[in-house]
Every structure is written in C-alpha cells, then in structure tokens.
Amino acid sequence: MGDQPIQQSLADKISLFVDDSLSKEDKMQFISEMQNDPAISDMVAQEKYFKNFIKNKVPRRKVSPNLIEGIMRNIDSTS
C-alpha cells in the first residue's frame, strides 16, 4: 500500500475495530474481510501497534506527596 491513501470508509472501519467500537455484527464482518485481504490485516496490525505505541510512550506523570498533602490541607480548611 505504501503511502497511497486508502478509502476513508475503510480507514474509519480500521479505527473503529482497533478501538473496539464496531457493533458485534460489523466486527464479525470486518474480521472476515481481514481474513480475506492480507493488506487490510496488515493495516489493522499497524494501527494497533500505533495505538499501543502512543500509550506506552506517553510518560505517566507522578503526583508528588506534597501535592496530595496540599490538597488534603485545602479540603480540611474548607470543610
């Protein structure tokens, strides 16, 4: 497929599939399409990889104990 754009409806379906947002019926139909077309299956694999890549690469920020203590103090002072 290279850099060739694909039909947006297909791209949309891939996103919905990867985000687990297709209806049960559409999901079954799409799985069948994937099984019959290795190019679609490859695009789905790339999209899943991209989604996991973003999740894993965005650093989780850690709340400091000072921040939590400050919040608790503020709550106490307003209660």
Binding site: M43, A45, I54, K55, K57, I68, I71, T78
Partner: protein, 191 residues
C-alpha cells in the same frame, strides 16, 4: 453523607486517579506547575460536589470531566493559557505540511516508530490543537470509550470519531517527520 464516607470515597475512588489526572493536566496546560494547579482545582471541585457522584460508578470519567470543564471554563479564561485558534474543526480536508490529506489514512510503518523516544511523542502530541490532543489522550492513553469521551468533552460520538481520526493522522505525520529527520525511511518507497 458524613465526613468519614466522603473521605472513604475520596481516598478509594478519586485519589487513585491522581497520576492519570496529572498526565492529562500536563497535556492540557503544557506546563508542570500549571498542571499541578489544575489537579488541585479538580480535586477541590470533586470534593465540593462529591454528593453528586454515584459511588462505585465511573469515578475516572467523572474526574476527567471536572478537569476538562475546569480547564475550559476557569483556567483558560483566567489567561493562564494562550488560546490557540483551532482550525482543525473548520477545515476538514486541508493538507498538512507534508501534503498529506488529513481526511485520508496516513500509513506509518512500525519500523519507523521503533526508535522514537517518549520526548518526541510528547512534543508531537503537544503540537496538536487542544481538541485533537484531548481525544488522543483520552482514547489511546487513558483507554476511554468513544461514548465516555463524548461525555467528557461534551460533543457527539460522531465528532469524537472524526476528531480522533484526524488527530491520529496528524500525529502520524508529525512522528513520520521526526523519524525521517533521524534518518529512518519507509523502505517500501525505495523497493
């Protein structure tokens, strides 16, 4: 609801999401210190309205909604964050800098991503408009469903879908650019 019960809900159901909230806050405000202020404001509002929260339901989505509203309604209005003009909503088919149509699928290969670090991903996400980075963070990083994102952002599910689709394409284009700057290329182009 007595104080003991409020404390229990706060500790067991709210505080466990503090790191996720701080991560989201950082990507909204783009500053560490502002992010901490926003987290504090979010928890203070959650405490104030704790009786409106249905115990045992989706505390994370409830807190994210409070944070999103606090940022839009209070924080940004106070002038703590320069408002960007969000052209993505208005221009659906505009080409980006690489000439990639934003309404078509950007094919970014796994091999090109493998050597990118968290810093590049953070920069790429932060370069997106507020609406775009919000949907990417809520869906891909926090794992919210389209329906939950629609409630948090107060837009229809269809808008969430289209924003997410465009945001991912823009993110791919940006990351592709970074990867190419590091010398990585899509090998299929040369074969």
């Amino acid at each position: 609801m007595d104080r003991i019960e409020k404390n229990r809900i706060f500790e067991k159901e709210f505080a466990v999401h503090a790191d996720a909230l701080l991560t989201f806050a950082y990507h909204l405000t783009l500053y560490d210190s502002s992010a901490e202020d926003l987290v504090q404001e979010t928890f203070m509002k959650a405490w104030r309205f704790i009786e409106k929260y249905d115990q045992g339901t989706n505390a994370k989505a409830w807190l994210f909604t409070i944070m999103k509203n606090a940022f839009i309604n209070d924080y940004r209005k106070k002038g703590k964050q320069p408002k960007k003009v969000d052209i993505e909503e208005a221009i659906i088919t505009l080409d980006d800098d690489n000439g990639t149509p934003l309404n078509s699928y950007v094919d970014l290969r796994q091999e090109m991503l493998e050597n990118l670090m968290g810093d590049e991903v953070t920069m790429a996400i932060n370069s997106l408009s507020l609406d775009s980075r919000t949907v990417v963070l809520l869906c891909d990083v926090e794992g919210f469903t389209y329906e939950e994102i629609a409630k948090i952002t107060d837009v229809p599910v269809g808008t969430v879908r289209s924003r997410l689709f465009r945001a991912r394409n823009m993110l791919k284009s940006k990351l592709k650019e970074y990867a190419e700057n590091f010398g990585y290329t899509d090998k299929r182009k040369t074969s």
